[in-house]
């Protein structure tokens, strides 16, 4: 028994010695859907260029990721590379000394301030994760229905209403596939989708954080007023329509327009047997600057206690490079790399979404940074308020006032 054990020990020591220069980096992630993409495309591409570093992608289930990661970090058994949730969850890890400061990583120069905003300290000095992927909001539409009814992509809000009214008048199709049962679509695909156009993207969003703008200012109330008009164009009984209901209505060709996030692209490609197009949130008047919600969703950082910080930084620098962006964008259509340098995307629908980055100003969802830390929680309130105004049970003005009261009750800069 002792002999075998000694033998095994000796063997393992020898094995280690033989690969002394080889470093294995373990990657923690919640994207178990992406396991194949990492193993078949991302990891081989990196290892081919960096002999001596091997990567191991070890994802866990999305719902359990935060809890598992936290306990692994506390126990000191977490991997070297850590996939970062946006905003407060990761910020808490950085503040707790679990994530390393990446301000001296050369690759960080490839990202804009908006892209970095999800993984940076409140003062904007210390980034701690490399931005990896974003999702873009807009509207996906059924090209066949548009051709049949002789409609064109609307550019302004007036044209948008015109298109919706025409589809409704024709009566064969539901103008807009959305419901309020699950509430989050109303806020995410409604309020945060069209909102940046009204509050001028970053200007309004940072204005809220700095206390210069208020949620009941005309710019913000208008968004809710616009949402209030949507209810007329939704299907019968939209009050009880769920998110999967809406997806099915659209992909079965029963609805013409789907307020979307780009993450739908790969799913819809597989389900819809008609040609799809996409248009960005319509602007108020022809020629106005357009704004899109280009929301930071996935980042990647380094365990502060990693035994191989140098190698980990080499990998993170590679993630920040255009080469990684290209692989990532095409392996997962609908998730966009955040680097400032544009990449070529082959999926036409996903490419359409990405093309708006050139025409429009990017921003992120207004409630995600700092503003959802208190009670009442702004994000939850937005779900509720957006769904209420679409259902017509609360006036946009009342809803806006309630949102502002909620925020100012705990956020000092809004008092």
């Amino acid at each position: 028994m002792t002999k075998t054990l000694k033998g095994a020990l000796l063997l393992s020591v020898l094995a280690c010695a033989a690969h002394a220069e080889d470093v294995t980096l373990t990657i923690e992630s919640w994207r178990n859907d992406d396991l194949k993409i990492w193993q078949d495309e991302i990891i081989p591409a990196f290892e081919a260029e960096h002999p001596g570093i091997t990567l191991k992608f070890t994802p866990s289930a999305p719902a359990e990721y935060n809890a598992i990661l936290n306990s692994k970090l506390d126990a000191g058994s977490a991997g070297d590379i850590i996939t970062c949730r946006p905003f407060d969850a990761s910020l808490a890890l950085y503040d707790g000394g679990k994530l390393a400061d990446l301000s001296d990583l050369p690759g960080m120069a490839n990202f804009s301030d908006v892209a970095k905003s999800a993984w940076i300290t409140d003062d904007g000095q210390h980034p701690f994760c490399v931005p990896m992927g974003a999702v873009i909001h807009g509207f996906i539409y059924n090209k066949e229905i548009f051709a049949e009814l002789g409609l064109e992509e609307p550019k302004t809000v007036a044209e948008f209403h015109d298109v919706l009214a025409k589809i409704k008048e024709d009566g064969s199709y539901i103008p807009m596939a959305m419901g309020t049962n699950d509430q989050w679509e109303a806020a995410t695909m409604g309020y945060q989708n069209i909102g940046p156009t009204y509050w001028k993207g970053e200007e309004g969003r940072t204005g809220l954080i700095e206390g210069k703008a208020k949620l009941d200012d005309p710019a913000f109330t208008e968004v809710l007023s616009e949402l209030a008009t949507w209810g007329d164009y939704m299907g019968d009984g939209f009050e009880a329509q769920t998110y999967p209901d809406s997806q099915n209505l659209f992909t079965l060709g029963r609805a013409a327009i789907y307020p979307a996030g780009s993450w739908e692209v790969s799913g819809f490609n597989g389900l819809a047997d008609f040609e799809m197009g996409a248009f960005p949130p319509p602007v108020k008047a022809e020629g106005d600057t357009c704004y899109i919600s280009d929301h930071t969703d996935i980042g990647i950082g380094m365990n502060a206690a990693s035994a191989h910080p140098e190698e980990a930084k080499v990998f993170l620098d590679w993630v920040a490079s255009p080469e990684f962006s290209k692989i990532f964008a095409n392996a997962l259509p609908g998730f966009y790399p955040l680097a400032s340098e544009p990449v070529e995307i082959t999926d036409p629908l996903a490419a359409e979404f990405a093309s708006w980055r050139d025409e429009c100003q990017s921003t992120i969802r207004s409630s995600y940074q700092i503003l959802s830390r208190g009670t009442p929680n702004l994000e939850n309130e937005l779900w509720n308020a957006s769904a209420n105004v679409i259902r017509g049970t609360e006036s946009p003005e009342d809803a806006a006032k309630r949102l502002q009261e909620g925020l100012s009750s705990w956020y000092d800069k809004q008092k």
Partner: protein, 300 residues
């Protein structure tokens, strides 16, 4: 001093029950007296309860959830239990054929998972794919259809009725068992005195099953004030539309575990859990001391 073998026989149950029920219960009550201060846990006395009951940010939600809980309970008491008693009375009728088949069919939903029940009823009532609108259409009553689960005025009642549909088998079975235990001699003695048919039910059977109805009421009370699963499965943790289906269970879940961008607050969550415990305790005490002791028990 009890005999040693009594202690030994009690030990497994007492130990397991203490570890998984009593200790967590008291720890929750203790946790409700603390709050987070940065990374530290500090003792704050009853401050969490003051916030919960007096700070409008919390108390509005709390009273709303409590009110909804009472409505949920009331529907069960007014619909589930009378139907359960009626079904049991029908089933115990000796002339009824296929009694076993009915009994099984009515009891089966009770053993289904909440998730399945919530999902199935959401589909049945769906304005898009559901069979409810087409069934109503077939009898010319389409105008009565509304997206019930999406309307503030109807959603909670609809969910309560779904829950009634699922659980009506439980009062039925308990009452059925109570009815079967009534001996023939009593009924025959009644017949001799001229009490037959419906009168036999009201004058002989009902008084004899009253203790069972009491037990069912208290089970319904505890079950309803602990309810969570059906609402969560059908409407999500935000209990839409506009919190009209929010009950204490969903309120507790949101607060304790957090939701979307809202980080969990185990201390306020424990305060809500303690309040729920208190409400149920008071309810059960009222029943035990106010009602059960006055119930007359008949011995045959």
């Amino acid at each position: 001093m009890p005999k040693p073998h009594v202690l030994i026989f009690l030990a497994p149950a007492v130990l397991v029950y203490t570890a998984v029920m009593i200790y967590p219960l008291f720890d929750t009550l203790r946790l409700a007296l603390f709050a987070a201060d940065g990374q530290e846990r500090v003792y704050v006395g009853l401050a969490n309860f003051r916030r919960l009951f007096l700070d409008p940010l919390w108390s509005d939600q709390f009273w709303n959830a409590l009110g909804n809980n009472f409505w949920f309970f009331l529907i069960h008491m007014l619909v589930q239990n009378p139907i359960g008693v009626a079904l049991a009375a029908l089933l115990s009728s000796p002339r009824l054929r296929f009694a076993a088949a009915y009994r099984t069919a009515i009891f089966v939903p009770t053993i289904l998972s909440f998730v399945i029940v919530g999902f199935a009823w959401k589909l049945i009532l769906s304005p898009i794919w559901g069979i409810a609108p087409s069934l109503l259409d077939a009898v010319g009553l389409k105008s009565l259809f509304a997206p019930w689960l999406g309307k503030e005025a109807y959603a909670l009642t609809t969910l309560a009725l779904i829950s009634v549909w699922q659980f009506v088998g439980i009062p039925m079975m308990l009452i059925y068992a109570a009815l079967l235990s009534i001996t023939e001699e009593i009924l025959e003695a009644g017949e001799v005195d001229g009490i037959t048919g419906m009168a036999a039910f009201w004058k002989i059977k009902l008084p004899l099953i009253l203790p069972s109805i009491g037990i069912i009421s208290i089970l319904t009370f505890v079950g309803n004030f602990n309810a969570f699963d059906l609402i969560y499965a059908a409407q999500g943790a935000l209990a839409g539309p506009d919190f009209s289906t929010d009950i204490l269970g969903t309120f507790l879940y949101r607060t304790f575990f957090g939701f979307q961008l809202q980080l969990g607050d185990p201390y306020m969550g424990s305060a809500i859990a303690s309040a729920m415990f208190g409400i149920i305790l008071v309810g059960v005490c009222i029943y035990l001391f106010g009602i059960q002791r006055r119930l007359r028990h008949y011995q045959f």
